[in-house]
């Protein structure tokens, strides 16, 4: 299946290969027609098609042809270069050709998968192939740049994902800095009582890992801190971290909590954020007894000394370690790392947005996270399930998919709500003996032991009603409904509308991206999907990588997921970071810009354009100079140079102009 010709007047000998990709390409594009056509183009001495170019035999075919036909350039029409450019560069190298004498043509993602008109798609494939054939003549032999990788790692976010990633890296002997913005690590998992489906006590499996982080010699733990700025590139990031003032010296405090007892407020008075506002705390507080680090902090918004400066400071007097420092200032720290793992987690959906469910209006309506605290043995009620007025509920309704699978709010399934609703149903029943009703659209229980857990709940006598609740109301229609919250729902299995009176309503709120995910992703120069979660490099093949090399994502910052998946992903992110660290260096695309000195007139147009300050003017010679280490290869200066004296490797003017010519030639 090959067309071969002799060398043609001065044009490099080009080999062209078109992939069928099984039937992914060949079912829409007439591969044979394209192959024959490209064989007629100047310079093309070999033109072949193959079922799977990326397979070993496909690559071997290329390597062999390079040797046999003395190919000087290579063009492969297949999938996106984002997927297999590297594969074919390697195939070129195997055949003894410089990897950069290669150009890839994307006829799968950009043609066969998006067009239905076979003739038009084939025409497009020919145009794109011709453009590459024209372009590849001008390619230069290049070498990848090697830069060393700093072995230190930054992990952002101290939930279970960040904790697991940090421990994995630290156990591998790498120095890790773990930055968490709250006063303690633990994240959402620290709020939970039990974890589904095994009903392990969350604290029992989490707190040992938290203390391991604190005591690990390779981990520097900075809580109550936020990343301010990130500069640099893979292997060499410079990160500024702001350490917010606790007004208590972290190194001195031992967490005896004598200060909390001594506080001038005899009783806790202020809403406790950790307990979702269900409990009270003092201005000097610690989130929970196992908080890590076990260090108290002062809330400047409620502390009398911080507000007025006129407190007798009984807390400070009670501290025999003299840890209090009411004048503590934010501190800016700078660290050097080679890789970064982002594990910044999620936030739960704001239940107030579904006004008809009455959250914030009826005191009997709770979010799932509030119930997590209520059923928690170390929560504000020590595990007693009580309503806000102190009564014990006799009937509880759990509404699934609040802020999930909803055209009006969030379209996605949050993946965990069915399972945690089952867990909460079990716990509420266990703790209070109440009748529990689950209102669901579909039960989604994909996971090891999950469906079995659902079966167990069915056997326990929890009620399941299939239907999306229309409304929660206190408007009673019968004497039995007096003083109750009534859930109006169409029971889609029974086929009629029901009214279920309950005392307590639990809203199974879904998972959303953190409120400041957009800001954070700008800091780290990564992308977000349309839902606001961080964008992975490839949904299947590079789920923890981002489009910025050396920055990895783990856990629910990338999308809704449960604890087992989060831990698995955190391990994967740590492993990806280890790959870079243990290799010791990374290879960077040689797509940097350089100045052709003889042609530069020293006009300085380019100097202010570079966002990395890579361009300077050599004052003695009056010529621009580009620092190749700083250049990231965007090419903005190249496009702006009035004399055309800046060139960008891989994207030279000649290459692009010939591509334009090729794509339009007929």
């Amino acid at each position: 299946m090959a067309e071969q010709k002799e060398h043609q007047n001065g044009i490099p000998r080009i080999g062209f290969y078109i992939c069928h990709c099984g039937s992914n390409i060949a079912s829409i594009i007439d591969v044979e027609d394209v192959r024959k056509y490209v064989a007629t183009l100047p310079g093309v001495v070999v033109s072949r098609d193959y079922k799977y170019m990326c397979s070993d035999p496909g690559q071997e075919l290329i390597a062999q042809d390079i040797r046999e036909h003395k190919l000087e350039r290579l063009v492969v029409s297949a999938c996106s270069p984002n997927l297999h450019e590297e594969t074919f560069r390697n195939a070129a190298a195997k055949g003894g050709l410089n990897s950069f004498y290669f150009q890839m043509v994307n006829i799968r993602e950009h043609a066969s998968w998006v067009h239905e008109d076979k003739a038009a798609a084939t025409r497009k494939a020919k145009d794109l192939a011709r453009a590459a054939v024209y372009r590849v003549r001008f390619h230069q032999a290049l070498e990848k740049r090697k830069v060393p990788v700093d072995p230190n790692v930054l992990v952002v976010g101290g939930g279970i994902a960040g904790i697991h990633a940090a421990l994995t890296l630290a156990n591998a002997g790498k120095k890790v800095t773990l930055v968490e913005r709250e006063a303690t690590i633990g994240g959402h998992m620290a709020l939970f009582d039990k974890t589904f489906p095994t009903m392990d006590c969350a604290a029992c499996i989490l707190t040992p890992k938290m203390s391991a982080v604190k005591s690990h010699p390779n981990i520097t733990l900075w809580t109550y801190s936020e990343v301010e700025k990130v500069e640099g590139y893979v292997g060499n990031y410079k990160v500024s971290v702001k350490r917010k003032p606790r007004y208590v010296n972290e190194d001195l405090c031992v967490g005896c909590m004598a200060c909390i007892d001594a506080c001038v407020f005899k009783e806790p008075k202020f809403p406790d954020k950790f307990n979702q506002g269900l409990g009270k705390r003092k201005p000097v507080y610690i989130d929970f007894p196992q908080a890590t680090p076990k260090v108290v902090l002062i809330d400047p918004a409620t502390c009398i000394q911080m507000k007025t400066g006129k407190c007798k400071k009984s807390c400070a007097d009670a501290c025999d370690r003299k840890a209090f420092d009411f004048n503590q200032q934010p501190e800016l720290k700078e660290i050097q790392v080679g890789t970064i793992v982002l594990a910044t987690g999620f936030k739960t959906y704001d239940a107030k947005r579904d006004a008809l469910y009455g959250y914030g209006r009826y005191p009997g309506v709770f979010t799932a996270l509030e119930i997590e605290r209520l059923v928690n043995a170390s929560g504000p009620t020590l595990g007693d399930v009580v309503l806000r007025d102190g009564r014990h509920p006799k009937a509880v309704g759990i509404i699934h998919c609040v802020g999930s699978r909803d055209e009006k709010t969030n379209k996605w399934c949050s993946r965990v709500c069915c399972m945690y609703s089952l867990k909460l149903a079990h716990l509420i029943k266990e703790h209070s003996g109440a009748e529990v009703y689950n209102f669901y659209i579909d039960m989604r229980t994909p996971g090891k032991g999950y469906e079995e857990f659902y079966d167990k709940l069915l056997a326990e006598g929890v009620h399941f009603i299939r239907g999306r609740v229309a409304e929660v109301t206190d408007w009673a229609m019968t004497p039995e409904e007096q003083g109750k919250l009534v859930l109006r729902v169409e029971d889609t299995l029974a086929g009629f509308v029901r009214r279920i009176p309950v005392d307590m309503v639990v809203l199974a709120t879904g998972m959303e991206a953190q409120a400041d995910a957009g800001e954070v992703r700008h800091k780290f120069n990564i992308g977000c999907g349309s839902e606001g979660f961080f964008q992975e490099r490839h949904p299947k093949l590079a789920p923890v990588n981002t489009f910025t090399d050396g920055i990895f994502i783990a856990g629910a910052c990338q999308g809704p997921r449960d604890i087992p998946d989060t831990v698995a992903q955190a391990g994967a992110a740590a492993a990806e970071a280890l790959v870079l660290i243990d290799a010791g260096h990374v290879e960077l695309e040689p797509n940097t810009a350089h100045v052709v000195e003889e042609e530069c007139c020293g006009c300085k147009s380019c100097v202010p354009l570079c966002p990395y300050s890579a361009i300077t003017l050599d004052e003695a010679k009056k010529k621009a100079v580009i620092n190749e280490v700083l250049c990231k290869g965007c090419g903005t200066c190249v496009a702006a140079c009035p004399s055309g004296s800046i060139r960008q490797n891989l994207f030279e003017d000649d290459e692009i102009f010939s591509e334009i010519e090729g794509v339009l030639a007929q």
């Binding site: 950009h110 998006v114 008109d117 025409r123 910025t548 797509n591 965007c634 090419g635 496009a639 102009f657």
Partner: protein, 179 residues
């Protein structure tokens, strides 16, 4: 049908319907990725666009756009990251600055508004690639062929005619001047 003699006059087959040729410059990080996403999501859109990949929309020299028109493109689409999203911090701002200038120039050259388009398409917006390509294809189709190469030939011919005309009339004028 075939037995009946046709009453219609014999006419030449209608010319092949005009299919615009649009050259697109997509930045590697956002718009090219979005086009990949459109592919992976199997969205279907018009087959009229040919994508040339650049690392950043900031690499696009206005000359590339002019060259594409000069070589026969009926439209040119330029895709970059949304403002604030540039992988290289601010390359797309430089693009915007240049292209504002270019748009004024294209107008002077008699190239209609709809033939050049600058769009910010993020890596997650595969559906926007589909929408923009379809919309622009329809728009350029409505405008008809630009055919700058054909116009260049026409203009060259005009210049030749003018030259001949000047050459033919020049000696007489000279004589008149001498007298």
């Amino acid at each position: 049908m075939s037995e009946q003699p046709s009453m219609a006059p014999v006419v030449a087959a209608p010319a092949v319907a005009f299919e615009p040729r649009i050259v697109a410059f997509f930045c590697n990080w956002c718009t090219y990725t979005a086009a990949d996403l459109a592919g992976v999501s199997r969205l279907k859109y018009a087959p009229n666009v040919r994508v040339i990949r650049v690392m950043c929309s900031g690499r696009v020299d206005p000359q590339f756009v002019l060259e594409a028109f000069a070589k026969g493109a009926d439209g040119v689409l330029l895709g970059g990251c949304h403002p604030g999203d540039c992988h290289y911090a601010e390359g797309n701002y430089k693009t915007l600055r240049r292209m504002r200038m270019l748009i004024r120039m294209l107008k002077e050259l008699g190239i209609e508004d709809g033939r050049f388009r600058l769009e910010w398409i993020s890596g997650a917006e595969g559906d926007k690639v589909k929408a923009v390509v379809n919309e622009m294809t329809a728009q350029v189709r409505a405008l008809g062929p630009l055919d700058l190469p054909g116009k260049f030939k026409e203009w060259d011919r005009e210049m030749e005619d003018l030259e001949q005309h000047v050459n033919a009339s020049a000696p007489q004028q000279e004589e008149a001047h001498v007298r």
